[in-house]
């Protein structure tokens, strides 16, 4: 039985079949809208390695030399990246093919992919529903079978939530374990590039290839997780009634039962600082974002207004015309919480709350090898007005933001369907505990086999 990697490798090496694949992809993506730009001519890679011939979708905030780097924003609509992210370089060195840039919420800000100024992505399971965000395009591309591997970035859940909405695996690695060089910064101390795939082995291998210190990123870290002393105990977050939608609550119970059945002692825990997670996250994230997005001012690259009387006006106009509402809101908030007179109360307080949260988690990990949590309180919601309002989307980030504030690795695992839409759970490990997460996911594979949406690309049909 050929592995996923082998199947794809064989396909992309065969130019006729590859052409069929490209056509099929275009047809399907005409409906799903996962790619903002597609560069199939990349097929003739000279490199061979563990990812030989694997086509990869790359979130359009990660730099690939010679390909667009729009970040889903008008202000960078015409930008072609002059360099490649280190993570991309490492994938390419192993033979992977960067075949296109996927849609995202503008600059990574959002939980639906509806905040993109340049594209429209739908959930492959039901086109009336969102793919999730901010890495919605990558999740949809993998779920729809367009690529076996896609990259996203996870600042507050942006890999795990869309992965969960689309029924695929999504890994948020340990902060610093994959170089951020080439990842357009949104929140520098919180985010990391993360792979998404349907095949666990491929997910694992892509992480292994990308991980490691990089001289271009001095915030990187390397390390290892000590071996488990808790007999595989899984801590399970206790939640109040009604916090989760019914199908999600049910899936949560099933996941707990499954782990128990697999022989893992279960330890129920509550997080005192649960209600502090979202305010702390958004304070820190917006603060860092306000500085990270200051560079976009229509002077050195990107879109500039057709006329401005002076440079100050040029900058204001470029940002006014180029940024969407959500981006403007977060820049505004981030600037505010850093302002003289407010900084201690907001940003300073948030950084201390962050320490408090880390301490609480450290205590939990004394007695548990991993923590099980939901990814999001709901399944994928409807697109447009009938969906979830922006404020609620933010407060719903509570389960995912936790891993970002603590810098810990977390893996979103698909756990079946309800009402035709995917369900997912997440496991979070101590720093550098990715192996633990992969192992647990492998165990759960049998209980929750992956499903495939109707109309997904089946490369088997191209053979």
């Amino acid at each position: 039985m050929q592995s996923t990697a082998e199947l794809w490798s064989a396909l992309t090496a065969d130019s006729e079949k590859f052409a069929q694949y490209v056509q099929a992809l275009r047809d399907i993506d005409g409906r799903v809208g996962s790619f903002l730009s597609f560069s199939p001519q990349v097929v003739s890679s000279q490199k061979t390695g563990s990812l030989s011939g694997i086509p990869v979708g790359v979130k359009d905030n990660i730099a690939v030399e010679g390909q667009p780097l729009t970040c889903g924003s008008r202000i960078l609509e015409n930008l072609i990246s002059p360099y490649s992210a280190t993570a991309i370089q490492r994938l390419v060195a192993e033979g992977a093919l960067m075949v296109g840039k996927t849609n995202l919420d503008e600059f990574g800000m959002g939980s639906s992919c509806e905040n993109s100024a340049l594209g429209n992505t739908s959930n492959p399971w039901n086109l009336d529903y969102v793919a999730g965000g901010s890495s919605g395009g990558s999740a949809a591309a993998v779920a729809a079978g367009l690529v076996p591997l896609a990259l996203g970035s996870d600042t507050g859940g942006s890999v795990r939530q869309p992965a969960s909405f689309c029924g695929v695996y999504g890994l948020k690695p340990t902060y610093g374990s994959i170089s951020r060089s080439g990842l357009t910064a949104y929140a520098s101390s919180l985010e990391v590039i993360g792979p998404m795939a349907r095949d666990l082995q491929l997910l694992k291998e892509s992480f292994r290839v990308m991980a490691g210190l990089d001289s271009m990123d001095q915030s990187g870290t390397a390390g290892s997780c000590s071996s488990d002393q808790t007999n595989g105990t899984i801590a399970v977050l206790e939640l109040d009634e009604g916090v989760l939608d019914a199908p999600v609550a049910e899936a949560y119970r099933q996941a707990i039962d499954a782990l128990e059945a697999l022989g893992h002692p279960i330890k129920r825990v509550s997080l005192q600082s649960l209600n502090l997670i979202v305010p702390a996250y958004y304070t820190i994230a917006t603060a860092e974002a306000s500085a990270n997005l200051a560079r976009f001012n229509g002077i050195r690259y990107g879109m500039a207004p057709t006329f401005a009387e002076n440079p100050a006006e040029l900058m204001r106009k470029a940002r006014h015309e180029g940024f969407g509402d959500e981006v403007k809101l977060r820049i505004l908030l981030g600037t505010y919480v850093l302002r003289s007179g407010f900084q201690d109360q907001y940003y300073g307080q948030a950084q201390k709350v962050r320490t408090l949260i880390r301490q609480e988690l450290a205590a939990i990990y004394q007695d548990a090898s991993a923590i099980l949590m939901p990814v999001f309180p709901t399944q994928a919601f409807k697109k447009g007005e009938g969906g979830m309002d922006e404020y609620r989307q933010k407060t719903a980030d509570v389960f995912t933001c936790l891993a970002n504030l603590a810098g810990l690795p977390a893996l979103a695992i698909p756990t079946g369907l309800s009402g035709g839409l995917p369900l997912g759970m997440q496991l979070m490990a101590p720093a550098f505990g990715e192996e633990r997460l992969f192992a647990l996911a492998k165990e759960l594979e049998k209980t929750f086999p992956l499903e495939t949406p109707e109309g997904a690309l089946d490369i088997g049909s191209l053979q």
Binding site: L76, S81, L183, D217, A294, I299, A312, S340
Partner: protein
Amino acid sequence: MSRAHEKYDVFIGLEIHIHLKTESKMFCSCPARYGDDPNVNVCPVCMGYPGALPAVNERAMELGYLVARALGCQTAKTTSFARKNYFYPDMPKNYQISQFAEPVGLNGMMEAGFDDGIRGIRIHDVHLEEDAGKMIHAGDVTLLDYNRAGYPLLEIVTEPDLRSGEETEAFLRSFQRLVRYLGVSDGNMDEGSMKCDANISINLPGKGLGTKVELKNMNSPRFVRLALNHEIERQAKVLDGGGSLVQETRLWNENRDITETMRRKEAADDYRYFPEPDIPPFRPDEAFMAGVETSLVELPLARKNRMAQEYHLTPEQADFLHDEKSTADFFEETVQAGADARTVAAWLSSDVRKLCNREQISLAQSPLTSARMGSLLNLISSGKISGKIAKKVLDMVFTENADPEAIVKKQGWTQISDPAELQTIVDAVLHEHSAVADAVRDGDVRQRGWLMGQIMRASDGQAAPNVANQVLDKALGL
């Protein structure tokens, strides 16, 4: 001191920026070089492209700690970077990576010589940061060149301990000397490797600091002096007239010799400093600090004082010799090889200096090495050549780039010290000028000097003076 000084206390503090002498920029590997075509020493990092991250330059960190140490600061056990947020077209990221909470050095002191003696000026802090790009204003447009963006800068902030334009100029020159001695920067205000902004306030005695005015655009130590003195008078006039001063930034206009309010002053920027998340804190270990100690040379003032004492130099000689480290090194090397200190000092401060000026090169750039200096002085002291000839030899060292012995040999300038040979010359001169000779014999000793001159002429300056004197005196019966 001016009239204003009689009535008011003056408080001047400085913010000095120096370009550090590194190969690459502060946060990326682009060349840190002057004079290249615009926008060629750039990369995604220093152009502020999306996704680009800063990587701290090791050498810049070393130089930062070295200066902090040399200025007597408490050097940081942990040093960290911060983002200083403001928008300007020459800023690639619209924030500058600087230092705020944990700079490389705090609470130092630098001694400098002023008119009324040596005094310590307190250093508030020393911190690392990056430079912005360059703007050239041309008609309708401004041209942007980002070659300089990301250059490693060290900012030195003093306390308001300076009292006048003169003191400030003296301090700046001392500071320049110090950073050049350390080899951390060229410290050149006209080349742009050093910039100085001043904060000045005046107040009635005993009332503490007054309303602070920031002065910018002073492009040399001399202009700093002029600008500050002008500003002191301006402020005094305002206060004398019962008015009050506005806290503002003023620019020195070197064409009109006045300070002017900066046009279109932007609303006071709130820099919103916060810790730079892309760069982890730096904790220098023992090896690092040991390296700093090794690089810490004897500082200019200490060197001047020691040399003056050790070699019995005059204040002027000590001043001249210590002004550049290469001169001081040259001097001491030559003396330690056996030459007489006062003699070396005299030669360096007169003839050598003249030649360097004429050729428009520094001593370090010249063909004169301390070995050659030593051998030249040796030739004089051993009587092989006269002082006069030595000057010609020195000139030829510069023009021919040759060793003194070789020059003397080639030119045939060896002094005539053989009494018999000199006797012949003396006899010839006395014979030609017998009247003068007789006059001297009769008692007109003043004319003896003239005869000596004739002997020198007749011997092409090669007559060894002491021997020639003896021979002449004998011939004149003196």
